[in-house]
Each structure stands twice: as C-alpha cells, then as structure tokens.
Symmetry: D2
Subunit: 340 residues, 4 copies
C-alpha cells in the first residue's frame, strides 16, 4: 500500500488523485496547493487532508509524491521530495531550464529515489501496443518515424507566455515519443515554424505551427508536425516504417457510429483533447509508477528521459532561429538504444 502526497489540485492533479483513490494498491493522504479552496475540495472528495508542503514531505508514511503543480515549482519540489526519500511522479516538464533540470537530477540521483516523468503518450494503449510491436520486430529495423500531434485549439495567451514556447511545451511529448520509437538517440535536429493560427502568438515570440526533422547516428529519420489548432479536435497519430513494413496508430473516437446519407458517409471526430484521449494512459501511468516503486523495477520513463526531451526541444529552438540543423549530444546512457 503506497501512500501519496499530491502537489497541485488543478485539472491534472485531480485526474491523478482519482486514480490513486480508486486503486487498491495505494491511497491519497495529503493534498498540497496554494489554492486552499481547490485543495480542500479535492482532499474532501478522496478522504485526504490538506497540509502545508513540509508536513507532507516530512511524514514518513508518505512513500511517494505526485508533482502536478505549476511548471516553475516542479524541479524544486522534486529535489525536496528526493531529499526526503520519496518516490517521485513528476508531471512533464521537470523544468524549462536545462540548468535547473540538471541541478534537480543531481539531487535525485544522489538520493537514489525512483522518479517517473509524466510523458502520458507512452501509456496510451495504442501507442504502447505499437511500440511493443516495434520491439517484437514486426516491422524489422526502424527506418522512419512520423509523428502528428495537433491540439484542438490555442491555449490562453497568458499560458502561452509562460509555457516555454511550443517546442518545450507541446513538441516535447513528441521528442520523447521519437526517442522511444526510433530505438536510437536523435543526434541532429532541424525545425521550421510559423505563426498561422493567431498573430498574437507571434507577438508573444512563439510559433503555433511547426515541423521538425531529426536524424540518429545510423541515419534513422523522424518527422514531427504540430499545430496549436485542429478544427476537428485532437489529432494524435504515429507511424513507424521499417524494413519489413509499417505500423500506424491513430485517433480514437467516442463511438463507432457511421452515418451514410445523401451527402456523405460520416463518423465521429476524434476524442476531444488530452483528458479524453489519454484517460486510459493516465491510469496506466500511475499503475506503472506504483508497480515500479513497489516491486523495485526500473521506471518506464525516467528523469534522463525528461532531460533529453528538453535537450531536443532546445535544439529545435536553435534550429528554428538559425535555419540550420543542430547537433545534439545523446545522453551518456541512452534508454532509447536499449529499447528497440
């Protein structure tokens, strides 16, 4: 029975809280949030207690923390939790600054605590099944990966201004997917981007439409395309091409209903956004974390994965500004190369 303290009572914190509460393998003891009202409501719903951060960190019964607070607080909370010997489930990103990420990871490594970084796509049933088939050799040696990731609509401008930019906020998920599916570390990144959805995004110094090409040491290629707005909803698709064939994983729909009438044959739009599309993934992600902590297994997505995705995002930013591809140093120990 793993006991949790949750930091952050917002939208995604609530999702994790309900999974902790409904699991027989763990329980939610504390909720910590600067928004006292949100903390109270969430704690009451699940029979938890609202406390100050240090109370939660010091309680020896707490075995694990979930960090679902605002991005700027992640690295410091993770370091504090590491020092307190807690297992860490940290929403992505660890931080928007590579320097702060490195400082955090140093503490985590020194403490020897397990840490999962919340790249939800790895736990999506379709993407996970696709990755498993890649590893089983269903398409032979991987040659090209193509990732399409498009949000239903622009987030509020206020959010965009603190998001770290499209590569670090949105594409970062795809950089992680790319590493996971390529089976090798990307060592070269090219990015092009535009502001096509809303000129206010450009005024904020950001892009809303990007295309990336990456290359690994042996020449495997990866393309990512992103848009901040897809009129038909959340578009999340992956293709892996290999010597023996092609694997695709596409969108899910609420129903299988198909209407044929005088105009067309039509079906559902994709599930609306990440809370709907990745509902099963969030549940599986928490279960995998609990399982790894309880059984002493390796974390399916570790802090180095969180770091390397940020390295690629930063390289994409430099490429966007310079118009040339940017070399990237692979991590000392690559989790990608072990996986496919």
């Amino acid at each position: 029975m793993l006991t949790f303290a949750l930091f952050g009572a917002g939208r995604i914190g609530s999702v994790h809280a309900s999974h902790v509460a409904s699991s027989t393998a763990c329980r939610l003891r504390y909720v910590v949030d600067v928004d006292a009202k949100a903390a109270k409501a969430l704690a009451e719903r699940h029979g938890a207690t609202v406390v100050e951060r240090d109370v939660a960190m010091r309680d020896p019964e707490v075995g694990a923390v979930i960090i679902a607070s605002s991005t700027a607080t992640h690295a410091e909370l993770a370091a504090a939790a590491a020092r307190a010997g807690k297992a860490i489930f940290c929403e992505k990103p660890i931080d928007l600054s590579l320097r702060r990420v490195d400082a955090c990871l140093k503490v985590v490594r020194a403490a020897g605590v397990p840490m999962l970084v919340g790249f939800n796509r790895r736990f999506d049933p379709s993407f996970a099944a696709l990755a498993a088939k890649v590893r089983e050799g269903a398409v032979g040696a991987v040659e090209q990966v193509i990732i399409s990731s498009r949000d239903p609509g622009l987030p509020p401008l206020a959010y965009l201004k603190v998001s770290g930019g499209q590569f670090r906020d949105m594409t970062i998920h795809d950089f992680d997917l790319a590493r996971w599916l390529l089976g090798e570390e990307p060592v070269e990144v090219y990015a092009a981007g535009s502001c096509l959805v809303d000129p206010k995004v450009a005024e904020a110094g950001d892009t809303d439409s990007v295309m990336v090409v990456m290359k690994t040491a042996s020449g495997r290629l990866c393309h990512i395309n992103n848009s901040r707005r897809a009129a038909y909803g959340y578009d999340q698709r992956v293709e892996v091409h290999g010597a023996l064939g092609r694997l695709l994983a596409g969108n899910r729909t609420p129903t299988t209903v198909e209407l044929a009438d005088a105009r067309a044959v039509s079906t559902d739009k994709p599930l609306y956004f990440f809370l709907e599309r990745y509902a099963e993934a969030y549940k599986a992600e928490l279960a995998a974390f609990v399982d790894a902590v309880e059984q002493g297994k390796p974390m399916p997505v570790g802090p180095e994965d969180g770091r390397q995705a940020l390295v690629l995002a930063d390289a994409a930013g430099r490429s966007l500004r310079s118009g040339r591809s940017v070399k990237v140093k692979p991590p000392a120990v690559s989790s990608a190369s072990k996986k496919a």
Copy 2:
C-alpha cells in the same frame, strides 16, 4: 446516497459491485450468495457484509437490490424485493417462463417499485449514440434493422442445458435491441436455426446458429443473426436503414494499431467478449438506474421490456419448430412506439 444489497457474487455480480463501490452516489452494504466463499471475497473487497437474503430484504436502509444470481432465482427475488419496497436492478432474463415473469411483474406493479432489466446493449456508447441519432431523425423513418450478434465461443454444455435455449438466452438481447431501434413493436416473427458449431448442442435440443426475421404492423423489417462461435471474437453490430440513409455501429478494438507488411494490412480483433465490450455499458447502466431511482425518472428499460423480449423469443422458438411465421401480440403500452 443509494444503499445496495447485491444478490449473486459471480462474474456479473462482481462487475456491478465494483461500479456501486466506486460511485460517490451509492454504496454496497450487503452481498448475498449461496457460495459463502465468493460472497465473502466480494464483500471484503468492497467493505460490504455477507448476510442471509432476508436480512438484506428487511433492512430499511437498503434502497435497492441488484439481482445477479442464477436465472432461476430472478423472479422470486424480484418479487420479494418488490414486496420489501426496494428498487430493483435485475439481470436479464426476469425468468425463462412467461407465466412466472407475469406473476413477478404483477407483484412489482402492485408494489409500485422501479425496476430495471439489464439489457446492457442499450447502454453501449455506440448503440446508444446510434439510437439517439435514429430518434433525432438522422435516417428519417426507420425501414429495416439488421442486428449481428455472435459470441466468441460456446458456453459450457452444462450452462447450455439450463439456459432456456439460444433464443431466450442469447437472442433475447437482440429482440430488445430490435424493439428499441425499430420504433414499433414487432408483430410477426420467423426464425430458422441450425446446429453447426457443435453436435452436442443439438443433442441438448438447442441451436447454435440462428437467423430471425420480424415485421412490425406498418411493415418495418428486422433481421437478427446469431452464432455461438466467432473465431475472431465478439461480433456486435447494428444497422438501421431509413428513408434518408443508414446508420451503422460496429465493434470496438483494444487499440487503433494497424500493421502493413508483405502479407496484408491488419488491425486488432474486436474486444473479446461482453465483459470487455460492454464494460462502459455496465457502468452507464448502473448510473442510469441510480439516477432514475434518485430522481424519480422513468426506468430506461423496464420490466415490460424484459417481458416483451421473452415473448419474441418464445415466438421465435415456435416459428423454428413450425417453419412458419408466428404472430405476436404487442404489449398493451408499447415503449418501442414511444421511442422513435
């Protein structure tokens, strides 16, 4: 907060128990089962108590019962619950004998308690969305309904012998779907059947492969096909044809992964069987029951629906034996005609 007593701690009882337990709108107080061990295990998992039937029936805190015990006990338990003033959630069928169903319904009506009969397909997201579109007029006046329902494999022969036969055990779901989707009561039933899967089924006096055609008073037509064995899993599909077009609802798959290789392009088989395919339906069914009881709304599937499906099943049996279509009396108050 609706308090439940559950009768039956088997497979389907466990499904309902977990939905009661995980809902904030109700709680599970009692589990009753002749299998003491199963009752104890289930009760412990959800913080309920194992009691004798009468204790549960007499407890005034119990507002509702779930009847998920063996078929032969349904009618009598429902009648007892009705006399005790409990709301009734009864797994299908109410009984295999129309006479006993009528006796039961008489008690239920006299008691004035709400009763839902567990036709899970009505709560499947795809079938429910299709039915909603039918009612919104997406295909205009309904003309033909086609229902394909095929199980992944034969149940144990021991079960088959007490099942009441394929029409009353399996097709009964489709008879209910047909009434729901046709928007009119079937008044004529023809059935043909064979034993193609396993000769032991014929020895037990039953069929394993059937085809039904029904007709309503205004001439709407409905076809049902069933098999006790589909090598690729559970096949559950519905088509509604109307003046303005066609609606289909098909199978769901575990993932959206598609593999293209030198041999073919291949995708997942359908979700394996009813526990997988109708997982969401069981949850929605219980929520609809609780909502109807708590809000005093009409039950989405009432006892008369349970009765009329049995009437159609019995007519199909007579048709199968006689080789001619059999006239069926519609219920005094048709729920079908109100719905589309």
Copy 3:
C-alpha cells in the same frame, strides 16, 4: 477471334459492345435492335453493322451472341441462337417464367452450345476475391451468409410493372450470390416484404423492401436484405461466416478522400449504381465468356444457375404470400455444391 452479334442497343448492350470492341480477342459484327436509331448509333461507334435478327443468326462467321434486349425476348433469342449453334451470353433473367426457361434450356442443352447467364456480381473483383478465399478455406466450413443489396432509387413504375416483381428482378442476383457462396443448395426459403418506399409500388402489387432467410440441407443459413432505395447510393455488401472466421466485401468509393472538420469525419458515398460499381465486373464477365468459348472451358455461370435463381425467387414469392417457409428442390446437378 470471336465474332459477336449483339441483340439490344440499350444501356447494358452499349456496355457489352464497348468491351467487345476494345478487346483484341473478339469483335462486334452486328447490332440488332427494334429501335433503329439506337442500333445505328451503337453500330457506328464500334464499326458494326445493323441487321435484322435472322441475318445475324444465319451468318456462320458469328460465333457468339449477346442477348441484352428486353427480358421478354431473352428465352426465344437464346433458343434461336442455340439452334444456330452460337455461344450465348444472356443477360439475366433468362425469363420470368420457369416454364419458358425450361423450354429454352431444353433447346440449349440439345444444341450443346455454351451459355453464360449475366450475374454480374460473380465478376466483381471484391466478391470474386471473397469467393476465392472461401474456397481456399480462409473461414473454414461456411455457416452463414449475409447479403445486403440496396438500390439508390426506385426504377420507373412502368418498369416495375413488367419487372416480374422484386424477387425476380432484384433479389435474383442475391439468390445467385447465395448459391455461389453457401457452397450448398438452399432447400428452404422464407421471405417477408413490405412497401415502405412508395405506396405506388404496393398498388402495382409489388414490394420494395424485403428480407429473406434460406437454409441448406446441412443447415447453413443465408440472409438477404433488399431495398429499392438507399439515400446514400448503391449498397452492395456480402458477409460469409465460417468455423474459422468471417469474410466481408463492401462498397467501393470513387476516391479515398477523407475530410475532418468541425462537424464530422466524412468520406465518399459508394459508387452510385450498377454501371459504376460493376464496371469492372462487366468487363471481366465478357472476358470470362470469351475465354470459356475459345478454350472450351466450363462457363462460370451456366443456364442452370439462371434457372435455379429463378426457382428461389419464385419460392420467395410463395413464402411472402403464405407466411411460411417454402421447400425448394435443388437442381439435379448442383454447381453450388461443387464450389465450396
């Protein structure tokens, strides 16, 4: 080089004429039609000559005739062609009267000439590939066949009045498909029907919406559904269920374009009607006929197939009127049983 005389310069005659003309294996010498203008236009387009019927029948260079004139003339033309020793390509049906069909077949058999009856669906690439897979055992022993065949819209009432009724005009194609796919002869037929599309059809004594169930001697089951009107176009689908799985063949669309917008995900409607859907089939059908004549191979669809489809259509008519299933005598030599 097979030389053809064509009887009938209408829509379907023109289709066959263009296939004869564009093939290097045959040529079109004569066009015969009571409509002199139509005959002339068609003959000119393909370098053929308009002649009287007897000229064509007597010309020893003519090796084969295509009978694409009105239904009432088929049997007599076929008999005349048989007597003249010509190979016969006869549009379906041979005749609407079983008595006249038998008289015709007697002449054909006596003459020993090869004869193909134009059941176009057998030459559709998708249906043909499905049938080939059935024969290769892809689904094991066949258990159930389901055929959906729906026209885009009502033909003119004048046509309906001479069509012989829905079973002999429309369902006859499906009766042939059923025999071909079941791998056994149906021996029992049940049919239900209504007039739902247009009350004028009922006034003409016909149905526009039918459902059929058939059974073979070993218990294989077949369902057919027909409608004279599908708002979304021509719906032509087949399912074969067997011990090892299921085969489907569905509609074809003009393009693969898919549009996702704020409303839905939509694709093309099916190809509009038989001239579009069976364009490839008509070409393959003629090629198969020429090949069989030139190489002395058995005809893929012979006159007995034409006869037996009519037997089933007539049985369906009797069942519709009586409300009971009708026994059918299989042909002395079954082509169905040889095929799967």
Copy 4:
C-alpha cells in the same frame, strides 16, 4: 481528331499508346524507338507505323508528340517538337539539368506550342478530388501539407546511377504535389537523407530514405517523406491541414475484402506500384492534354511546373549536403499561387 507520334516504346510509352488508341478523340500514327523490335510490336498492336524521328516530326498531320523515351532525350525531343509546331506531352522530368531545361523551355516558349509535363499524381482521382476540395475552401486557408511517397522496392542499380538521384527522380513528384496543394510557392527547402535500404545506394552516391521540410513566403509548411522500399507495396498518401480542418487521401486497394480470423482483421495491401495505382491517372492525364490542345485551354501542368519541381529538387540536394535550409526563388509567374 488529334494525331500522335510516340517517342519511346517502353513500359510507360505502351501505357500512353493504349490510351491514345482506345480514345475516339485521337489516334496513334507513329512509334519511334531505338529499339526497333519494341517499336514494331507496339506499333502493330495499335495500327501505327514505325518511323525515324524526323519523319514523325515533319509530318504535318501529326499534331502532338508523346515523349516517353529515356530521360536524357526529353529536352532535345521537346525542343525539336516545339520547332516543328507540335503540342508536347512530355514525361517527367524535362531534364536533370536546370540549364538544359531552361534551354528547352526557351524554344518551347518561342514556338508557342502547348506542353504538358507528366506529373501523374495530379490526375489521380483521389488527389484531384482532394485538391478540388482544398480550392473550394473545405479546410480554409492551407497551413500544412504532408506527403508520404514510398516505392515498393529499389529499382535496379543501373537505373539509380542515371536517375539523377532520389530528389530529382522520385521526390520530384512530391515537389510538384506540394506546389499544387500549398497554394503558394515554397521559398525555403530543408532535406535530410540516409541510405537505409541498401548500402549499394550509398556507394552510388545517393540516398534511399529522405525527409524534406519546405516553407512558403507566408509561412505555410510542407513535409515530404520518401523511401525506395515499402514491404507492403506502394504508399502514396497526402494530408492537407487548414484553418477549418484536414483532408486526407490514401492508398487504393484491389478489393474491399476483409478477413477476420483468430489472428487479426486483415485487408488488402495497396495497389502494387505506379502502373496499378496511377492507371486511371494516366488515362485522365492524356484526356486532359488532348482536351487542352483541342480546346485551346491552359495546360493543367505546364513546362514551368516541370522546371520549378527541379529547382526544388536541386535545392533539396544542396540542403542535404550542407545541413542547412536553402532559399529558393519562386518562378516569375507562379501557377501555385493561382490555384488555392
């Protein structure tokens, strides 16, 4: 009636010859090929005559030439035909050297003869329907275009050595598609490439796997991915994303047959290669050429389109070698900007 001389009696020349021969709007008079045997066989099949090049060029009855000979001869034949006043149907590419293309186009422009460059994809029913929908505004302003083009297998190495490299031989089709669908000229090109299929390709100084990103002046983005080998056949897909939604056009299959068995649900692989996939496109392309010549309409794909695709291919080559994006000058008169 347009009279043709055909240069080149190989595979693609034969395709064009059969379309000319089977059309009532044109006829094939001459076949010219250095391979006398091939020329003779093709000419005989279609009632044409084998002649020397100059005979064909000088015959005033010849209104149009088809240039389907080896790439190295295209530019010079086109110039000669232009000087002779013939309309020109020229297989892609005009030449592998931009200098020779320019010299050729100068002659063509001076002669004022119409010229079509054979980018077959523009005439594919699915791609053409998609492009028409883009122009009708179905997805609003275009933002991103994604083109996947993968061949079933490596061509012979001997061919690869004279092909001009993957960008000028294969991607050139996609550069043309991109211009057509973006509705604006690309002004910046980035390309990455590898040799993953066969090391002999690298030895020949070429790539077999490439990814391209292009940008237009207003910031529209385009991605192209290519592989010389797809184990499942010919993969030809296009996506256009705009402000209002997404259009896809995918592969076509030989049949619609779907098999569900104990292993998976499987369907056909795509049509095998360009002769199969673009069979309808080749026919439509010739018809469009004849129509434009006879009616004096603008050519749907003109010589400037052939030139600009080569400009983009050359830019991709420079980007591949330099690792940076390369600026491209749009044509003086852009056909792309007029089109969407």
